[in-house]
């Protein structure tokens, strides 16, 4: 379990939020939380509030934008969508992530020699 305050966790969460917005289009915080919950198959239990911290970080960096609208059940909600610079960042991060997990995977699969 990753410590929720750690930077690794924050970075990962940011990446997940960005990807979600890239794939599903404009979404509110609740929706993002649901999507992550669903995809992680309950493995990743997070305080849903932390999603908003992630959204604020991304917005401050200019990678996402937001707009007020109303939710499915007619509640006032803020919809977030990925920006062009956000997409570029996502591409970079995805590549980094794959390279990183590849290396880690290889190391973890190492057999003791001899």
């Amino acid at each position: 379990m990753v410590e929720p305050k750690s930077e690794v966790f924050q970075g990962t969460l940011d990446l997940m939020v960005l990807k979600t917005l890239d794939v599903l289009g404009p979404l509110h915080g609740y929706g993002i939380a649901r999507r992550i919950e669903q995809l992680s198959e309950q493995l990743l239990r997070l305080n849903e509030g932390t999603v908003y911290a992630s959204l604020l970080r991304l917005a401050q960096k200019g990678w996402i934008r937001s707009e007020w609208g109303s939710s499915e059940n007619n509640r006032k909600a803020r919809f977030y969508s990925i920006s062009a610079s956000g997409r570029r960042q996502l591409a970079r991060e995805t590549e980094n992530w794959e390279r990183f997990t590849g290396v880690v995977g290889k190391i973890l699969q190492m057999q003791s020699e001899g």
Binding site: H28, Y52, A53, Q60, K61, R75
Partner: protein
């Protein structure tokens, strides 16, 4: 990087969007919770259950809001403003405390700033000229001394050699000392400050005129027309808004045409001596041709601007290279030995970015000492406020506990408390700057004496403001950090209980005791220091001068070096006039006796030579000489302890005779009666002559009050030293010396109305010569007393506070049968502990520090035991008193009242 900038920008915007951000966040969170709850409800929970579960899954709503709020803007700035607002509220709530603290700090910071601005002006500030760091001043370096020491030690011949032969400077100039110049064209004398400068002066310094043009090389040649450049300040005060260029000013009776005005804030290269008017070097020939032609008139300084790209070492070797040529062309008339030494003299260059200053040598040590003293005072003041803050902290213990309980972090709490002390300190500094401005001006005024006016630019420049800022910051930190650390330790459960003050405040009280012990130690150091300086001054004022300076009027009838030749006269003519004048003065009513001398006692002037005796040919030390008339000893009341006085039989043609002082007798004739023995004097080029000792006089001060008695030889004025004229008159009067001035003036005018006469009393002169010590003693005494008072207030405050807090305890003790005396002992033992600890540390500190005062002391050792013991005694006595008052209050606790309180 761009991303980081964007984040910063967004956070900055956030500072102004606080409210809308909060509202939006509330909405967003609320709808999230509702949607989540609706989902749980659809899974079969009750509405209440669903809402609970939603909150759980969301995590702490308030925490998240706080976190986002912090992230949305520059949190530290935000909380900083909140802290400042809070601190201001605290100050409004207790104005008396705040006023005390701010005033104490203003005094402390103000004193520090004042002394520092003086130091800055005298020692650190660069000349207000273009690229001052490129400037160097020239010095003569010889294996043994051949030229007068000090800054103005070049002849015009050397300057012309340097000017024509140097290749290391992009510009160079010579200038004279700033000197008094009579502005009046007849009538009452009106002195202004004038300076002679060579043609390259302004161009080398890179100055531009405010009006007209400045002196240039084309103005500076032999036989040049008389032109003058005014300083901006002088132009304004004398010409107002009118243009001065083209008008004529009379300088020493000669008309000079004003060609320009310097830029504002430029007063020359000598710090502390501002010039009003500058004249080209060539104009000095008007007053005395020897200024330019004599190889023996040392009156100039030389400053150069290093050529771009050259290092100081390259400049030095360049100067060394031209030195032999310059020296041989500038060779003074002297004996062969002197000439040989002179030839080996090398020109050297030292940095001169801060200009020339005689003040610097004289004031560097005193200023450093004063700086240290005021820093100590400030630390003691800080400690006092820290104790006050500590005491308040315990009162505010509950408030702090509540803030903690509501989730304030330890760091956040400390930040707020330090902000409070910083605010006090900044307010103190602001008021302190006003004090500093005011105090600095008073200081400079007190440094000036009639003969030696000092003017310094004390404006608050960046260095001074920066210094005050740093001092204020450190002060705020110093006095805030201890109470803050202490408060961070506040225990929640303890603090929120209704009343158990004893336990809770113990930590605060302990910290307070440490602070007070430190204050006691520091104030002991200050007391010892100031006692040493004050006693130095008292010793200076009461030292045996070897003569009686009271009721003595000094009359100088000494034509200045620039006077025209008909006033100066030949020595033989002058001798006749002087004898006549002396006779007339003696006959004036109210005159007890009158005499003449070549050197005025304590006149900051000397005549030094070396001697051998008929017993030994060792020339071990410089001997101080004077020429006097026989009445000198009676007039000054210096007794002749052996042998005879000079008399009418000692003439130009009789055997050369001398009266020596006791120190010389001891050093050269120990165990022998010096009377009848002979000495020989080494003048520079004269054939030696034996002088017979006919008398021994009591030791007396020669040049300065604080000097160690010098071996002295007095010779009769009638056996003249070939160029000397004995024209310094001492007149002992029956009544106040100054009342005699008009009659003396009349008597002089009867002999020759053109002779310039100057008057001062000997007592005045002594006052002038100890002015610096007086100022330092006064300041040290003031700050020493202030430190003592502050430390005692601190001690009293901490103990009073402790007694108040322990009232219940004392009540119980008394109810259980404790005697008043044992309560008194209980409290006083605290006082003892604090005082003893502080004094022990203070003695150690003092012993380590006083060594630095050595050079400033007179007549006592820095380790003077009496001073140390007295300081300890005073501190202990006052400390015990400060401790006794609260202790006595403790014994008056009424057990019933105290217990009912519980």
């Amino acid at each position: 990087m761009a991303t980081a900038m964007r984040v910063l920008f967004s956070r900055l915007l956030g500072l102004f969007r606080r409210r809308s951000f909060d509202a939006a966040m509330d909405d967003e969170f609320q709808s999230h919770l509702e949607m989540l709850a609706a989902r749980f409800q659809s899974h079969g929970m009750t509405k209440a259950e669903a809402l609970q579960a939603a909150k759980r899954q969301f995590g702490g709503v308030t925490q998240m809001q706080e976190e986002l709020r912090e992230r949305s803007s520059l949190a530290f700035l935000d909380s900083f403003w909140a802290d400042v607002r809070y601190a201001l509220r605290q100050i409004r709530k207790s104005p008396a405390f705040a006023a005390t603290a701010v005033l104490t700090l203003a005094l402390g910071i103000g004193a520090n700033t004042a002394i520092f601005s003086l130091m800055n002006a005298v020692m650190f500030r660069f000349l207000p000229v273009q690229d001052p760091k490129e400037l160097v001043k020239l010095q003569m370096e010889a294996p043994t001394r051949t030229v007068p020491p000090g800054d103005y030690s070049f002849t015009n011949a050397i300057w012309e050699g340097v000017r024509d032969q140097q290749n290391v400077f992009s510009g160079a100039f010579a200038s004279s000392e700033v000197q008094q110049i009579d502005l009046a064209s007849g009538g009452a004398v009106q002195y202004i400050e004038g300076v002679f400068v060579s043609g390259g002066y302004f161009s080398t310094l890179g100055m531009r005129p405010a009006a007209g043009r400045l002196i240039s090389t084309s103005d500076d040649y032999r036989g040049c027309p008389l032109v003058a450049v005014l300083s901006y300040g002088f132009w304004q005060s004398h010409f107002g808004a009118e243009s001065a260029v083209g008008s004529t000013v009379s300088l020493r009776g000669h008309p000079f045409q004003v060609i320009g005005v310097t830029a504002p804030r430029f007063y020359g290269v000598e710090v502390g001596k501002n010039f009003d008017v500058s004249m080209p070097l060539c104009a000095s020939a008007l007053f005395d041709k020897r200024n330019l032609d004599s190889h023996g008139r040392w009156w100039l300084q030389i400053i150069g601007r290093i050529k771009p790209g050259l290092s100081l070492d390259q400049v030095r070797s360049g100067l060394a290279l031209i030195s032999p040529g310059v020296m041989s062309a500038a060779m003074p008339e002297a004996d062969a030995a002197f000439q040989k030494r002179f030839m080996s003299t090398k020109l050297n260059a030292v940095p001169a970015a801060t200009g020339i200053s005689e003040l610097r040598g004289a004031f560097a040590d005193p200023l450093r000492a004063l700086m240290a003293i005021v820093v100590f005072v400030l630390i003691i003041a800080c400690a006092n406020i820290a104790s006050l803050l500590l005491a308040r902290m315990t009162v505010r213990g509950k408030e702090i506990a509540i803030r903690k309980a509501l989730g304030a972090s330890r760091r956040r709490l400390m930040q707020q408390l330090v902000t409070e002390s910083m605010l006090l300190s900044v307010l103190g500094a602001a008021v302190g700057l006003v004090f500093a401005r005011w105090g600095g001006t008073i200081l400079v005024r007190n440094l000036s004496t009639g003969r030696n006016p000092v003017s310094l630019d004390l404006s608050l420049d960046r260095t001074v403001l920066g210094f005050s800022f740093v001092i204020a910051f450190l002060t705020g930190l110093l006095m805030g950090i201890l109470p803050a650390l202490n408060s961070a330790r506040v225990d929640l459960t303890e603090a929120t209980k209704t009343r158990t003050p004893g336990e809770r405040t113990r930590a605060g009280y302990k910290a307070g005791r440490w602070i007070v012990a430190g204050q006691v130690a520091l104030s002991l150091v200050l007391l010892v220091t100031s006692a040493l300086l004050v006693r130095t001054f008292v010793k200076l004022m009461t030292v045996d001068l070897g003569f009686d300076p009271n009721h003595v009027l000094i009359v100088s009838i000494r034509p200045p070096w620039w006077a025209s030749d008909d006033i100066k006269m030949k020595p033989e003519q002058r001798a006749i006039i002087d004898q006549e004048l002396e006779r007339r003065l003696r006959e004036l009513p109210g005159v007890v006796s009158a005499s003449r001398s070549f050197i005025e006692p304590l006149g900051d002037d000397n005549w030094i030579d070396e001697i051998v005796t008929d017993l030994s040919s060792a020339r071990s030390e410089p001997i101080y000489f004077n020429l006097v008339t026989p009445e000198y000893f009676a007039t000054l009341r210096t007794p002749i302890v052996a042998g005879r006085n000079f008399n009418d039989g000692d003439t130009r043609n009789s055997q050369r005779v001398a009266i020596i002082n006791q120190t010389l007798a001891r050093n050269y004739f120990s165990g022998v009666n010096p009377l009848g023995h002979r000495i020989e004097k080494f003048a520079t080029s004269k054939a030696p002559e034996w002088i017979e000792i006919v008398g021994v006089m009591k030791d007396s001060k020669y040049e300065q009050v604080r000097e160690k008695t010098k071996p002295t030889v007095f010779q009769p004025a009638t056996q003249p030293f070939d160029v000397a004229t004995v024209e310094q008159y001492e007149v002992r009067t029956a009544a106040a010396p100054k009342m005699l001035i008009p009659e003396v003036q009349r008597a002089v005018a009867e002999v020759n109305p053109r002779l310039p006469v100057e008057f001062h009393t000997m007592a005045e002169h002594i006052d002038d010569s100890v002015a610096q010590q007086r100022l330092i003693a006064e300041l040290a005494g003031f700050f020493g007393a202030l430190a003592l008072v502050l430390a005692m207030i601190g001690l009293y405050g901490v103990l009073s506070y402790a007694v108040n807090q322990r009232q219940v305890e004392f009540g119980i003790r008394m109810a259980l049968g404790a005697q008043r005396s044992s309560i008194l002992r209980l409290v006083m033992s605290d006082t003892f502990a604090v005082l003893a600890g502080g004094i022990i540390v203070g003695v150690g500190l003092s012993l380590a520090i006083v060594r630095l005062l050595q050079k400033m002391l007179f007549g006592l050792s820095p380790y003077d035991a009496t001073t140390m013991l007295t300081a300890i005694g005073v501190l202990a006595a006052v400390g015990l008193l400060a401790g006794f008052l609260p202790a006595r209050r403790a014994t008056r606790v009424d057990p019933m009242v105290a217990l009912r309180y519980e």
